[in-house]
Symmetry: C2
Subunit: 137 residues, 2 copies
Amino acid sequence: MHQKKEIINKLRSSNLRPTKQRILIAKKLFDRKETFHFTAETLNKVVNRKGQTRISLATIYNTVEAFKKAGHIREILTNNSKSYYDTNIKSHHHFYDPQTKKLTDIDYQEVILKKIPNPPKGKKIKDLEIVISLQKK
Amino acid sequence: MHQKKEIINKLRSSNLRPTKQRILIAKKLFDRKETFHFTAETLNKVVNRKGQTRISLATIYNTVEAFKKAGHIREILTNNSKSYYDTNIKSHHHFYDPQTKKLTDIDYQEVILKKIPNPPKGKKIKDLEIVISLQKK
DNA sequence: AATCCAGTTTATAATTATTCTAAACTGGAA
DNA sequence: TTCCAGTTTAGAATAATTATAAACTGGATT
Ligand SMILES: [Mn+2]
Ligand SMILES: [Mn+2]
Ligand SMILES: [Zn+2]
Ligand SMILES: [Zn+2]
């Protein structure tokens, strides 16, 4: 699905020089069927599996920030002390399970908002995020 | 509105010994007209204004956690690195302004949800929070 | 009222997540 | 091939929070 060339184009078009570190990270992030909800820590683990060319944690952070700024990933709201990111950049919502600290996508159309408030004057709505926290039944 | 006796009862009924630190913090939190959205840092500033009996930052954190566990305050979702708390424990939502890092209440009835997804099996919904981030118009 | 102790407070250290720094490296334009 | 702005990196620094352990105190018991 995501060939190396596509990844390189994606990086180039966002003014990100396609270094071997960024290409590897992009592969790990985008070359998968399901959307990926991750923290710097989990991404670091995935990227730095045995054997693979080692990428520093600083680069993990730098790249996550760069991809976020470029709009390739988005940050998600949680109450966890770590920052969570999402490879699904379409507008959608999340279940959050505080037990497992795992996020699950909720498709945009699975929530229908009948009424939302007007933003304060001088401001407009940038984003509306819904987080549904779960507990054991 | 919140007399000292009420505060002491509130603490007692949650199995929190009404120490002078907790009583002072509770006053600062609950003896106000508007709901209060705060971080450990802002609460510390409010509590430790000139003159007042000094309360350690550790106690600020301990008390916030105790009040949260007792259900007197709730934690709010934001992407900020600090934890945000709310004296309004009724179910409601928020505007978040990333510029000012300020939260504003949205009354529960100002949002009407026409459809929400079913939770995964074995789980039930503990809470549904909506955060509307703002930007300059 | 004096005693007592579990619960609480506190200063300080430790931990955790993240950002900063500055030196070495490299993609790719020229 | 040269060159340099952009990038990577190890390690230091920062920031928020939590842990530790000694001192203190609310209030029950005597
Ligand atoms: Mn968060
Ligand atoms: Mn938060
Ligand atoms: Zn998602
Ligand atoms: Zn609120």
